[in-house]
């Protein structure tokens, strides 16, 4: 009787461990998809380059050759940026859904995208540089980053005044979104044709202006933020149980929400300022990760990053190949492919989960 009891006990723990192993396998699966599409991204492009030339460009590194330039200064940053921005958006989307307790939330829900767009437009239309004296390629990213930050501050201000509940945040986010969207529309109205075209193109979202330096910045921010979030992963998981329950487990929900909000804002702002508005990755990646891995944030954080990277890498590949010889703006691809996927999620949605 007692041996039966101990065998039973061992079975429960092993079943739990199996649950964990299953999740680790999914993480590896996402990783493989990322590697697969990244390889495709380096190999394919408007110019036809042989595998041998690609390998020598990557590992022998002599930049006096046009092929090397294409590989090292176009394709490689493009590929890496797709991975990093996809990951950043995936993680930002996950945490936005968590703190707003809403499955429809994305990194852009609280108006950061509107602020970023307005910042970029300021540069294109008026030539207004918030920090003057910097190289031209950093004007737009810096403007949009600073405006995103301003948006974040506005939301914080609203939150401090009325309490940091999900309801207040959403309402504040809507108001701030509308504010900057109308200001953006005003700028678009006043813009010259070239400026207007530049703004519209920026808003599409595009990886074409990626460089290794910009990728490094996104990488460091993503690393920093994900490590900090992992440290608090259990408290964030508890948030999913509801306000009262989380409090009863000793979690200071307001403090955690503020902290996560700041991290999400920085992450989104950095991702958006270099590549513009790439939609749907932040909405869809967390949902896929959650269906495969449950609610445990230790896995969800990593899973959302990798899922986002996989989606955006795949999207990057599609936008290179869909029109031969040209590169389609990636934001359009993610939106077009994201919509039916999202509808599918909505249709099969299980009750009682949110």
């Amino acid at each position: 009787m007692s041996t039966e009891g101990t065998v039973h006990k061992a079975t429960e723990t092993t079943i739990y461990r199996n649950l964990i192993y299953k999740r680790i396998i999914f993480i590896f699966l996402f990783l493989i998809i990322c590697v697969f599409f990244s390889t495709l991204n380096i190999i394919t492009g408007p110019m036809n380059i042989s595998m041998q030339e690609i390998m020598s460009a990557l590992f022998l590194r002599s930049n006096d050759n046009m092929i090397n330039v294409v590989i090292l200064e176009y394709r490689l940053p493009w590929t890496i940026m797709a991975l990093l921005v996809g990951g950043a958006l995936g993680l930002a989307g996950l945490q936005m859904q968590t703190i707003l307790n809403n499955p429809l939330a994305s990194p852009y829900t609280l108006g950061i995208s509107a602020g970023a767009g307005f910042g970029a437009a300021l540069a294109y239309v008026i030539g207004f540089r918030i920090l003057p004296g910097l190289p031209i390629e950093f004007v737009v990213p810096l403007n949009s980053f600073i405006l995103s930050f301003l948006t974040c501050m506005l939301i914080m201000f609203i939150g401090k005044a009325r309490g940091f509940t999900s309801e207040t945040l959403v309402l504040g986010g809507i108001a701030v979104s509308f504010l900057f969207q109308s200001l953006l529309a005003l700028l678009e109205y006043l813009a010259s044709e070239e400026a207007l075209q530049a703004i519209v193109f920026w808003l599409f979202g595009s990886l074409t202006k990626s460089t290794m330096f910009k990728s490094c910045i996104v990488f460091l921010v993503l690393l920093f933020v994900s490590l900090l979030l992992l440290k608090d992963s259990w408290k964030i998981t508890a948030l999913r149980l509801g306000e009262e329950k989380a409090e009863s487990l000793g979690v200071n929900t307001e403090k955690i929400r503020i902290r996560v909000f700041i991290f999400v804002s920085i992450l989104t702002a950095v991702a958006v300022c270099f590549v513009g508005l790439i939609g749907f990755v932040g909405l869809v990646a967390p949902h896929i990760a959650r269906i495969l891995m449950g609610e445990d944030q230790r896995f969800l954080i990593v899973g959302s990053i990798l899922c986002g990277s996989a989606i955006l890498s795949a999207g990057a590949f599609i936008c290179k190949t869909i029109v031969s010889g040209a590169i389609f703006p990636i934001g359009i691809i993610t939106s077009l492919f994201g919509i039916p996927f999202f509808l599918a999620l909505v249709m099969r949605g299980r009750r009682g989960i949110w």
């Binding site: 259990w234 149980l241 009262e244 329950k245 009682g352």
Partner: protein, 256 residues
């Protein structure tokens, strides 16, 4: 073993007084129930003891240590509070839901003792077959059992339960309350239960506290304190108390 003592505790939202001059002791190994009409301040009282709210007046002591000097982390390791809400959102297995009850102790890698604690609670409550079911697929009664298990999994010294059996059928009500009384006695926990069902309160508590309009109108042993007059005064309902098979029963007759 942790004694819970309240001395002159008061709580107000702005100028609205919710609780006034609350003083009582709850002892380890005993179940103390709090009864009273809706809006009497019972849930607020539990939130004060659990540290979620801080009293505006008076002192709450856990083993003679004033909670005002204790951090949330310290309190939550001693006190386990189960609120009234009976939902478990998200895609969580029962096992993971219970694991979350150990949040004060969890680090990035789950330790053997955390897993053991979950196992023990599943065993004690007879819930082993539920371990890998998804929480959102459970019935209301099953969910309530899981939430109680979650409150117990971090081996608290003080257990605060807000309406723990309101969702359960009579058989499960008896099972759960029997189990709570047994664990309270065996582990010398200090258990405080807010409950609407007067008969259950009479049956399962060593001490009973009657709250009305934010004040204590009676406290002591159930049999001596609970009189028909007191209940009529508190609830505004004429009642009769009968004894059947050694159990006291409160029968509401008519509203006053």
């Amino acid at each position: 073993m942790v004694k819970v003592s309240l001395a002159g505790v008061g709580f107000q939202y702005g100028s609205h007084k919710v609780l006034e001059n609350i003083s009582f002791d709850a002892f380890p190994g005993e179940v103390t129930t709090i009864i009273g009409p809706n809006g009497a301040g019972k849930s607020t009282l539990l939130k004060l003891i659990s540290g979620i709210l801080k009293p505006t007046k008076g002192r709450i002591c856990l083993d003679n240590k004033d909670t005002i000097y204790m951090s949330r982390e310290e309190i939550v390791k001693i006190v386990s509070y189960l609120p009234q809400e009976n939902t478990i959102p998200g895609i969580l297995t029962v096992y993971e839901t219970l694991l979350l009850g150990r949040i004060p102790y969890l680090s990035l890698r789950i330790k053997e003792e955390d897993l053991k604690a979950v196992e023990n609670v599943l065993e004690d409550l007879g819930l082993k077959s539920f371990a890998l079911r998804y929480a959102h697929q459970l019935s209301g009664g099953e969910r309530q059992m899981i939430l109680i298990a979650q409150a117990l999994v971090r081996e608290p010294k003080v257990l605060l339960l807000d309406e723990p059996v309101s969702n359960l059928d009579i058989r499960h009500q008896l099972k759960v309350l029997n189990m709570i009384r047994k664990i309270t006695f065996e582990k010398k926990m200090t258990t405080i239960i807010v409950i609407h069902d007067l008969n259950m309160a009479l049956r399962y508590s060593e001490n009973i506290i009657i709250l009305n309009g934010g004040r204590i109108v009676g406290k002591g042993k159930p049999r001596s304190i609970l009189t028909e007059d007191l209940l009529a005064y508190t609830y505004g309902v004429d009642v009769k108390i009968y004894e059947t098979d050694g159990f006291l029963n409160v029968i509401p007759i008519r509203p006053k």
